[in-house]
């Protein structure tokens, strides 16, 4: 092979084993260590770039330098954001879809996903047609035929949905990250594709971090605000105010947080159901995801606010019952 190449590591493995598996000649081995400083003597994580150096020269080429920079960036993106718990890897498909929907995605890896989603939608459409046929006939003979056909279609759907899950859990289920990312089927990549991958990882890792931490940040902010409210009331030296703040703000936090979780979860289901009922959209696909996101957000915010209000009332009652305010 002429020139420097790179590929994406698919499973966690020690550097020494990875190097052995490549069967490099002794001369290239030394250079391999030099160009792969980002993974040297550590366990190489899935998604990281492995560089195969140019065996024609002992010096570092411009291509190798570019690849080393890309590899370093990918490593940082993976480590800084989500590779430690594989959130990015597991949820790659959903993140990619959300990014595409939000018009911030680069769309480089989404064509495979879109095709897959379209196939699922086709099967759902076939199920829909079958249901309509059965409901219009309603005879016993039609029922038996319907049940048999339905079983076949749902087996097909199950396979497709498992495939959908594989998109996101490719590494976990020993699939191929290259297939999962849908970028290339070649064993070794040229530089343009590597840059594309680097860009994808950066953006998706950042989004995944934001999405993953959004809830925790929200809860942490709520807890922080509650603590501040209590501290403020207590720092003024007024004992009653301090005690009241503990009850009221505590009640708001518990019921507000719980209600927001319930509201968000209920809103997602209701959002999809309403869209399916009114607009007759299939329950898979970008439209359904959009309905779920909107329903979840509206439900979470609204019910969270109502819960906070109820929590305040309960907190006040408990404060009064505890002998406060007298």
């Amino acid at each position: 092979m002429q020139g420097a190449y790179a590929y994406i590591n698919e499973r966690p493995q020690p550097y020494s084993l990875l190097k052995l598996s490549l069967s490099l000649n002794p001369y290239t081995q030394t250079k391999f260590d030099t160009v792969n400083q980002h993974i040297r003597n550590v366990v190489v994580l899935p998604g990281q770039l492995v560089i195969i150096p140019d065996g024609r020269t002992a010096s570092c080429t411009v291509e190798e330098a570019q690849l080393m920079r890309s590899a370093q960036n990918i490593k940082q993106a993976l480590l800084a954001h989500s590779a430690s718990d594989q959130f990015l890897i597991k949820n790659y498909d959903l993140l990619q879809l959300i990014m595409t929907n939000a018009s911030i995605g680069i769309g480089s890896a989404s064509s495979a996903w879109r095709k897959h989603l379209a196939a699922i939608e086709r099967t759902l459409h076939e199920i829909d047609v079958l249901h309509k046929q059965y409901l219009s006939k309603g005879t016993t003979a039609a029922r038996d035929e319907f049940l048999a056909k339905r079983r076949v279609l749902f087996a097909k759907l199950e396979g497709q949905l498992l495939g959908m899950a594989r998109f996101g859990t490719g590494l976990k289920s020993e699939g191929s990250i290259k297939k999962m990312l849908g970028i290339s089927t070649k064993s070794y990549w040229h530089h343009g594709e590597i840059r594309q991958y680097e860009e994808t990882v950066k953006r998706i890792a950042k989004s995944s971090q934001m999405l993953k931490k959004g809830t925790y940040i929200g809860i942490a902010l709520d807890v922080g605000v509650t603590a501040l409210e209590i501290t403020e009331a207590c720092s003024t030296g007024r004992e009653q105010e301090c005690k009241r703040a503990k009850f009221v703000e505590g009640g708001k936090l518990v019921l507000g947080g719980g209600a927001a979780t319930y509201g968000g979860s209920a809103g997602m289901g209701i959002g999809v159901a309403v869209c399916a009922a009114i607009f007759a959209i299939p329950t898979a696909g970008a439209s359904a995801l959009g309905c779920a996101v909107v329903g979840g957000a509206v439900g979470g915010i609204t019910v969270g606010a109502l819960g906070s209000h109820a929590g305040e009332l309960i907190g006040t009652r408990l404060y009064e019952a505890s002998g406060g305010g007298k």
Binding site: D128, H131, L135, L161, Y262, S265, G269, A292, A310, I314
Partner: protein, 118 residues
């Protein structure tokens, strides 16, 4: 003022629903979903939103409760067959529907309390 007692009782209802819902999603949800394994709404919802660490069980619980409460609406859009819903034993249906309605009642009560206060 009626708003305050309504708000307080709704809040209490929601607090009670926390452990009840947790019990249902841990013990009854999968069993109920099994009866609706030919509902595209349930199947796709499970695959799509069952990716979080808890398996999206709270979302799935609310989704299946909707189907059990309004099977004809879902049948109208060919997302479920009423016949499948009827196969679910009544105690299991109640385990899903009653906690869902309690939770929803707490939502409504809180909303009413807020509305009356404002």
């Amino acid at each position: 003022m009626m708003s305050e007692p309504i708000g307080v009782w709704s809040g209490v209802l929601m607090l009670l629903s926390f452990p009840l819902n947790l019990y249902v999603i841990c013990t009854k949800l999968e069993e109920a979903e099994d009866y609706l394994k030919f509902s595209s709404f349930i199947v796709v919802f499970k695959h799509r939103f069952g990716t979080d660490p808890s398996g999206g069980k709270l979302k799935r619980f609310f989704a299946i409760a909707l189907v059990l409460l309004m099977p004809r609406l879902f049948q109208w859009r060919c997302l479920v067959i009423v016949e499948d819903v009827k196969r679910i034993p009544m105690p299991l249906k109640l385990w899903i529907v009653v906690p869902y309605l309690l939770t929803m009642s707490s939502f409504v009560g809180m909303g009413l309390s807020w509305f009356l206060t404002e």
